[in-house]
């Protein structure tokens, strides 16, 4: 299949646009890492605090 110069340029531009979109998306996704990990950490702490058999309850004298 022969491809003329114009078609080749169009395809190259399309591939470049797709590559840039992919790169941008990857950086954006990476940027939310801290948000997610902070949320996860807060939830783990809350779960630990709310657990009925937590060490806080067990350490209470006379409990």
């Amino acid at each position: 299949m022969k491809i003329d110069q114009e078609e080749l340029n169009r395809r190259a531009a399309e591939a470049d646009r797709a590559r840039l979109a992919l790169r941008r998306a990857t950086l954006e996704l990476l940027a939310v890492r801290d948000q997610l990990l902070e949320q996860h950490k807060s939830r783990q702490n809350a779960d630990r605090f709310n657990r009925p058999d937590s060490s806080i309850d067990r350490d209470e004298p006379g409990a």
Binding site: T26, V32, L36, H40
Partner: protein, 148 residues
């Protein structure tokens, strides 16, 4: 507005919001979630973990938001997961992309994954993401048969 389907973030946001708008539970999984947890690998397609969702509902939800699609396959078993694939087409510049809907065969676990999902703010839109422990579990389930 036409979506650039070569842009994975745009696909994830559009798909998540369309499903949410229809009252369907979904959370980002796969390469996009992995990138959000700090291991980017330039994944183009979007995988979403779902619970109690019929593919026809997802199709209707996406079409209602102006997204054209073809159902490639429905609820194919991959280990302990059921995977349905939709190809989205007609995006900006003739772009297309693939969305996999991934559901654990255990409906209870599928619900737990949704209950534990975290929220990421992407381009000012809240998008649900599977929790890291569920990311690992889902990956393990993909390669293992469910026990009795």
């Amino acid at each position: 507005m036409q979506i650039d389907l070569t842009d994975p973030t745009a696909v994830l946001i559009a798909t998540s919001l369309a499903l949410e708008h229809a009252g369907l539970q979904a959370a980002a999984f796969g390469g996009l979630a992995l990138a959000m947890y700090g291991e980017p690998r330039e994944t183009k397609d979007a995988d979403l973990a779902v619970a109690g969702l019929k593919v026809a509902q997802a199709e209707a939800a996406l079409r209602s938001q102006g997204i054209d699609l073809i159902r490639e396959f429905e609820e194919v078993q991959f280990g302990g997961l059921l995977v349905s694939r939709l190809t989205l087409f007609g995006g900006k510049g003739g772009s297309l992309n693939v969305v996999d809907l991934v559901e654990p065969r255990s409906s209870q676990y599928a619900g737990d994954v949704q209950a534990r999902a975290l929220t990421a703010l992407l381009r000012d839109k809240a998008v649900r993401v599977v929790a890291p422990e569920d990311f690992i579990m889902l990956k393990l389930l993909a390669t293992r048969e469910r026990g009795p």
